[in-house]
Structures are given as structure tokens and as C-alpha cells.
Symmetry: C2
Subunit: 424 residues, 2 copies
């Protein structure tokens, strides 16, 4: 019998071999595969939901919390939503094959860049089984083979989903082996996978900070991990108060559990007395707890209906992922820029101002994936940015920054058309 | 007294702080700094050459080989050539600030990408002191701070060069701290440097395979390393014989010690009897040693003037960096493609053919940074490709592939101009 290590080796080699053919499969065949996957999610619904029931029963029996259980649960509606997402990816333009910067050099060589898939993408993710289908559809559309390793809690669901997508992809004519699923949840195999720099061109961890840290430290191949967003909004002294209230409220409250939600609100001292009571009132209506620095506290303490606490040092640079906000009064744009440079995570930062120079300085000087003037940081999203779907949001500067759409999971090669040229 | 570790910490922090300001220094100031550096290389010639003499005397005393000594040696002419290179970088367009994909979304948000520097680039390099100036000029032009760690053999030369470029950069108004040089050659400090993922955005190792492997394994930040080029040229059955001889000869002989030189020549069996004696004769004139597979050997053994050996298994996928070539006869384009997929290093690969379909398949299916039809692989070079100077050649697929010019050592950020938009 083969060992788990040998099986992993085989799957890696099969993915690599498939990736070579997948790189130049036509858009038509890839779209046919995606349509097949979408159809199968409906047609094979009973098989998938039965597998999911094993996982959710097990999770309930071991006392998993309600929020986690909900993330694990699949329903007919959720499968339909997943199928719709796959169809949306099929409808996106194929990034592969795009040629740009093509030109003819004085020696007659015609040279340019051609977009190609990355090759093999590894994804290590935690409990949400819909990630299995999400990732597969994006990777396949961009011509990449994919090696998936999901969480233990969702093993049966992921196995069923992986089988369904594998069958649909093969039936449509994609190379066998394009989709690999590691069905052994032994942690040692994760380390083995992270050592496969000869096979896997990009590793994407999707999950909590612990998983991301582990993958970053152990991976021998490039890793793109985002996920952590410590987002600031700076209300300038010349902000439009109404916009400033609406933007801060939206960024904090509209969906507080995600990475592009507002964490720290910085308010210019010249506007704080007018602005803070208004925004605090709106935030309080939504049940937001406010951690205020001394100056903000002095202004806000007269409003006893607020959930108000003094900010501690660790509140700056903290990703709350909940209805909590840190508020600091700053003396200048420079102080705000310094604070963001010291505490931001390079995700999304915003200024609210009617002053042209302040907006320009903020856009120029803040070093983050997405920098906003007069808008909510909640817009940082592949769909909102018009990229179609997204694989995640990168806060790194190498390769791709911000939302990772299809183009961001490709590479390019230089192609050179000669007629016998040699170098003098 | 400060420890070496503390000094390294200080230099890292200083580079980071400088990089924030350097990111939006004007092109004019950056060019002024580069012109100043070029001038100083002439004006401070005596100081630099005196320092270099200490290194070369020491190297001679410890029995360094002639080739290594030559790499270490600086002369007035070499300093002038370095200054000319710096001026050439000053003349290149500034990549920073370029804005693209700018568009207005249905909700009125105007959104696009703006090119920004990477931040801080670390470079660990071996004995050629001219690398110090090369790298500094490219990094500064692209708005990056740089931390340099050169080899022990060139320490005095590098110290003098670093001081000269630091002084010139400061005098021109670049932020203090933009150029850091680690003057302690203790190996432990390299490991410390490789752990600074919070400071250094990109690490570039320049040197032998041992250095590159060490950096890849230990670095916690992204690494772009190239340098290793196992390059194939495939002579198709429908090649133009004359072009095929000229291209193979040029790729092997024009400069055999570099990464884009030809290593393995694959020859279609249908053309081998005619082609091999011709190319082997030309290669023999240049003193090339031929490691031939059985079929090539059978054709070539009648020509006793050749330096001919049977190829061993380890000749395939070997980077010779010398006047040695491996030659294999293949039965088909497919066999050539398989051989290249198995043994290539993803650097530069070429086909010589007059058959349209074969050329297209080769360009499509070979997975390498640079893929050629009917030209010598020796063209893989930033200067030859029209990028101006280059920092190296990347054989990775992430971020940038092929020659790394100025644009390839930048990142981008999304800039978003709103007028109060919130996410519904």
C-alpha cells in the first residue's frame, strides 16, 4: 500500500504534468469545464449535501460553535449561489494569451510579453467548503492546475465537492490531474506540501492568522497571503462633515467582520469637537464600542449613551473584526500619516477632506494596497473594483497588490520572433 | 559600544525611514543624485583605487586565481565605464508615478493603479565591486532604498564606493539613509538580514549557486534570484541550415560564461546528418568540447578533429558556463519539448525552423522566461530587450520574469478618488 507521502508525491507530479497542458487549453474548453462544474453542483446536490451532513453532524457532536457551524453548512441555496459564482467566472475574459509591449527592435527581432498561467497553485484553507469551488474555478480559468488542502472539519464536504468538480472538468476535456485534493488531514503533509517549490509556483493560505504565519514561515515557494487589514480613515480638518460621518459609519458598520472594515479613526483636532459627537452617535446606534484616546475622550465623555472606553496602546494597529473602533485626535495631516505608517497593515486607508492638497498628499504618501480619498474602505474588493471574482487581497508589494483577480494569478513570458539574428 | 547586531538594526531602520521619503522624491532630484554619483566616481578615483589596491594586494597574497582577481580589480577605465552606466540609468524614464487602468466605476469612484517603489531592496553579492554602484543606481532611480552586503574580498573597495555614492546622493538631496552598506562581513549578520521581512521588501542574491540557495532557503522576504540558465536550442527538421549553424555557434561561443549561453543543442534526426558535421566543425574552431549522445556520436565520430566525448546523464540540464556543449538527436518536436520541460531552468530556449506550426508550438508550449524562434538566446538581456539596464534575470514566475529593469523593481498601489461613496 502506498504511504500518504507517496500519494502526495503522485498528486503533485500529476498536477505539474496537467499544468503543462492546461497552459494552452482554449478558453472555450475552460469555459465548458466551468459550466459543467456549475451544472454538477446542482445535479450532484444530494451527494454533496449528504457528505456535508456527516461533517455538520460530527461538528455538532463535538460542540462546534454556531458561527463556525454556519460557515461549514451547505444548503441547496448555497450550492446554487456557488454555481452562480462559477458561471460568473466563466463569463470573465480569459487573461491567458494576452500579448503586450510587442515591438520590433532595430535588429529586426520582434519581441513582446505574453500572459501565461503561473502553473500549479497550492491552496491551504480552513473550514468553509465553498472555498474549494471558488478557488478551483478561478485557478482553472487562468489555466492553473490546483492542489487543495482543506480543513479536517469539512473533509467529507470537500471530498464530495472535489470529486464533483474533478469529474465535470474531465468530462469537459481538461487535462486529468488538473485538480488535486489532499484527502489526508495529517499536519505533517502540510509541511511536505510547503516544501514542494519544484512543483507549486504559488501557495495561498486562506484562514486565520495562525495558518498564514505557519505557511509564510515554512513555505519554500512564493506565498501570497492577505487577510489582515488594519484600516484607518483620517478625517481632515477640512472634511465635509456629512460625508465624513457617512464614510466612517459605512466603513465600520456595513460589515465589521471583514478585512477592509475600519479599525482606527483619526480625526483632525480642528474638526474633532464638531465631528466626534456626530459620528459617535451614529456608531452608537449600530452598537459600536469606542476606544478613544485622551483628547477624543474629553470631547465624547459628555455623551453618556456611548459604549466608551479609554484606548490602550494595543488598540492602535489592531484589526478588530467586530463592532469596535479606536478613535484618536491628531494635530495634523503629518501626524495622521505617521500614525498610519506606524500602525497600518498596508491594506486600505482613506482620507476625508475637501482640501485638494491634503487629498493629494494622502494618496501619494500613504503606502498601502488601496488608498482612498473621500470613500469608504469597504470598496476594496475584486468585484467592486471590476476585476470579477477575487482569490483574496494581497497586502504584499511583490507580484500583485490589492484584490487578486484572474490576471493576478498569471505570469508572462517574453516571446521573440527572429529571422536568424545572432548577438554581435 | 554598539554590537554588530545593533548597528545592523539601525541601518535597517534608517533605510526603511528613508524609503518612505524616497518614494515620492522627484525624478529631477533622483537624476541629480545619479549625475552626482557619476561625477564622484571620477573625482574620487584616487580614494577608490587606493582602497581597491588593498583588496587586490590582499587577494594576491592569499593566492586568489587570475580570473577572480580580474573581477575584483578596479581601474580608471573601469570607473569611467561605471560612471557611464550610472549616467545611462539617469537617462532612463522614471517608472515611479506611472498611472494606468484608470477608469470611473458606475458609482462614480475613479480608480486606477499607480506605480510606486518596492520600498527597501536588499542585495547580497559576491566579489565584483562594480555591482555596488550598478545596484545603487537602479534602486535609487526606481525610488527604492537599498541595503548592500558585499563580499569580504572586496570590502575596502566596496566601503570606498559606498561612501562615495552616499555622499553624492546626500549632496543631491536624497534622504539620508537611502543607501546602507553592511561593513561587517560576519556570516551571522547575513542570516540576521535575511530575517528582516518587516524592513526589506525584496532580497536579491547576486553570485554563485551556493549563495543563491542559501538566500532562498533562509530569506523571510520575497527573493528574486536568477542567474542559472540551462539554455536549449532545438534545430527542427525544417530548419534553415545556415541560420541554425550561426545561431547555435553564437549562443555557445559569443560569451560562454554567462547564463544565456547555449548548453544543450537538440537536433531533429531528419536534419542531423547534414547539420551536425557543419555545426560541430564551427564549434571546434572555437575550441568547444562536445558531449554527444549515441546518435550524435555516430554521426560525428568520423570527424577526428573534434573534442568529442559521449554525453553522460548529468550533461542534460547542466549549465556549463564554458566552451562545452551537450548535443542530443531527437526524433520529434515533441521529444524536444519534453526534454526542455524536464531539463530546462526556465531561462531562455530557442527553436530554429522554417516551419510555421513548429515555431508557434515551441513559442506556446515552452515554459521559460524567454522563448525564441530563429534567434540566439544570447539576446536575453535588459539592454538588448530595450529596458535599459538590468538588475538580473529572473527565472521565477512571480512578480517579474526575464530581465529585471527599473519597472520590475517597483510595485503599484490602487488609488481611488471618491466624492463621498459608501458601499451599499
Amino acid at each position: 500500500m502506498k504511504t500518504a507521502t507517496e500519494i502526495l508525491e503522485e498528486k503533485c507530479r500529476a498536477a505539474k504534468a496537467a499544468s503543462r497542458r492546461l497552459a494552452y487549453v482554449s478558453t472555450e474548453v475552460k469555459n465548458r469545464a466551468l459550466d459543467g462544474i456549475a451544472r454538477s453542483l446542482s445535479n450532484e446536490k444530494d451527494r454533496i449535501l449528504a457528505a456535508n451532513k456527516i461533517d455538520t453532524d460530527e461538528a455538532r457532536a463535538t460542540g462546534m460553535g454556531t458561527a463556525m457551524l454556519d460557515r461549514l453548512l451547505l444548503t441547496t441555496e448555497r450550492l446554487e449561489a456557488m454555481a452562480a459564482d462559477v458561471r460568473a467566472v466563466a463569463a470573465l475574459p480569459d487573461p491567458v494569451g494576452e500579448v503586450w509591449d510587442m515591438r520590433t527592435l532595430p535588429n529586426g527581432l520582434t519581441i513582446g510579453k505574453k500572459r501565461v498561467p503561473l502553473g500549479v497553485i497550492g491552496v491551504i484553507y480552513e473550514s468553509r467548503p465553498n472555498v474549494t469551488v471558488d478557488i478551483v474555478s478561478l485557478c482553472l480559468k487562468a489555466g492553473n492546475a490546483v492542489i487543495l488542502r482543506g480543513g479536517k472539519e469539512a473533509l467529507n464536504s470537500n471530498l464530495a465537492l472535489a470529486a464533483v468538480v474533478q469529474e465535470a472538468a474531465s468530462a469537459a476535456g481538461l487535462p486529468e490531474g488538473s485538480i488535486q485534493f489532499i484527502d489526508n488531514t495529517d499536519r505533517a503533509l502540510v509541511s511536505q506540501l510547503l516544501g514542494k517549490s519544484d512543483i507549486i509556483n504559488l501557495m495561498i493560505p486562506r484562514g486565520g492568522a495562525g495558518l498564514i504565519k505557519f505557511v509564510r514561515e515554512k513555505a519554500t515557494m512564493p506565498v501570497v497571503a492577505g487577510g489582515i487589514g488594519v484600516c484607518h480613515t483620517y478625517i481632515d480638518g477640512e472634511a465635509d462633515i456629512e460625508k465624513a460621518v457617512a464614510i466612517a459609519h459605512n466603513a465600520k458598520v456595513q460589515r465589521p467582520t471583514v478585512c477592509n472594515a475600519l479599525d482606527s479613526l483619526l480625526v483632525h483636532t480642528g474638526i474633532a469637537k464638531e465631528y466626534l459627537p456626530l459620528v459617535a452617535g451614529r456608531l452608537a446606534e449600530a452598537g459600536v464600542e469606542i476606544h478613544a484616546d485622551q483628547r477624543a475622550l474629553a470631547i465624547l465623555k459628555k455623551a453618556p449613551s456611548l459604549k466608551l472606553k479609554p484606548a490602550k496602546e494595543e488598540d492602535w494597529g489592531k484589526e478588530f473584526l467586530s463592532l469596535t473602533i479606536a478613535i484618536k485626535v491628531v494635530g495634523s495631516l503629518d501626524e495622521a500619516l505617521e500614525h498610519i505608517a506606524a500602525h497600518g497593515s498596508g491594506h486600505s486607508e482613506a482620507i476625508v477632506t475637501e482640501n485638494y492638497g491634503a487629498a493629494m498628499r494622502f494618496l501619494n504618501e500613504v503606502d498601502a494596497a488601496c488608498v482612498y480619498a473621500n470613500a469608504s474602505t469597504r470598496f476594496t474588493d475584486g468585484g467592486q473594483f471590476g476585476l470579477g471574482a477575487e482569490l483574496g487581497i494581497s497586502t504584499q508589494k511583490m507580484h500583485a497588490r490589492g484584490p487578486l483577480g484572474l490576471r493576478e494569478i498569471t505570469s508572462y513570458k517574453w516571446i521573440i520572433f527572429g529571422s536568424g539574428q545572432v548577438r554581435p
